[in-house]
Point group: C2
Chain length 190, copies 2
DNA sequence: CCGGAACACTTGACAACTAAAGCATCTCCG
DNA sequence: CGGAGATGCTTTAGTTGTCAAGTGTTCCGG
């Protein structure tokens, strides 16, 4: 969670929108406000889903997401890819995988070609378990978004699409070094 | 974080949008997809902001949010209100307050009228500290949302507004018991 | 004015996440 | 080949969060 306004001395883009009109501060803080609202919606949905998953299915959100990703990749996923999909760090994925493996819902399959890596895949038990919950989960989501009609949802979808692409681009490491020239990353798969 | 599709036996609202057209499955999974995208955007922004706050200001996101809320309420806030604003549980707020108090950024002010409760407020040091960071923080947000023009931002803002109201309504405990008739809540301020 | 319910906060146990360091393995260039 | 560097995953420490139970206050009907 995050967020705040308080310009105090709002540094840049104060007049971002003067292309349209002469008004200077009209668009002020709009980005901040939309971010706060975005965050609020996201948090609220997450909280509801987390609570229901726990109560009705006895599973945590993190594990559900983990299983969900594996379910749409029946051949299994490498840990690093999984961590990217789930948008969490590698260490976290390791822990989740350990637990779910212990419970028999997933299995690690070692890759004979590269002994560093392994794929994780759903077991039969894991697949049954997930499928039992997934439909209910979708119904919850549909209900939570029922305030918006199909048009509004599509609009929202498009707007977020624009945003997401831009965000992804911004998070990139400037430019992928054309031919491994230097590279200053030290650590792991984060 | 959450999300998934996998209908498997998608239960309800399959034909939610047939009012418009005869197509049955056209709107299928739209809610789920928009939720995934919403979550993705939110997570990405959060991740970026968290990282920058740590690197450039040496502060965590949770603490920044805590200070931010206090900053726009200079007279201080009660813990319960703060926990609602930050959308976290009371226990969490207690912990954060403890730490920030230890660092001298906030102070607890005991209410002589009601000795159960106390207000938390920024100290002078806390205010200076926060104000030093806030402007930079807003610039980050503006930059992250710079893919969208003023119109798009306003649209997004409105759409999320609709959603948020609906979500808040759904999370309500059905109806506040008219005159304390039973009440089955046990615990604290969660 | 007394006892129970509601309230405000704290505590404790634990889940989930991050960041940074630590293996082991692989790859590639000299 | 041989070794430096990249990769893939694990480990460790610490923060943030939840939930549930616990403590002390206040409120209110009898």
């Amino acid at each position: 969670m995050s967020a705040q306004r308080r310009p105090s001395a709002a540094p840049l883009l104060d007049r971002a929108s003067i292309g349209l009109e002469g008004r200077v501060v009209s668009d002020d803080h709009q980005s901040l406000k939309v971010w706060l609202r975005l965050l609020s919606c996201s948090t609220q949905v997450e909280t509801v889903i987390r609570k229901r998953l726990r109560q009705e299915a006895g599973i945590t959100l993190a594990r559900f997401d983990f299983l969900a990703q594996l379910h749409r990749h029946p051949d299994g996923l490498r840990m690093s890819v999984l961590s990217r999909y789930l948008m969490v760090t590698g260490g976290n994925v390791t822990g989740l995988a350990d637990e779910l493996e212990k419970e028999g819902l997933v299995e690690r399959i070692t890759d004979s070609a590269d002994r560093r890596s392994s794929r994780v895949a759903l077991t039969k038990k894991g697949r049954r378990f997930f499928e039992r919950i997934a439909a209910t989960h979708e119904a919850w989501i549909v209900s939570l978004f029922s305030a918006m009609d199909a048009t509004a949802i599509r609009q929202l979808y498009e707007l977020l699409g624009t945003l997401r692409v831009h965000l992804a681009a911004q998070s990139q490491p400037a430019s992928p070094p054309p031919r491994r020239p230097r590279a200053r990353r030290a650590g792991a798969m984060t």
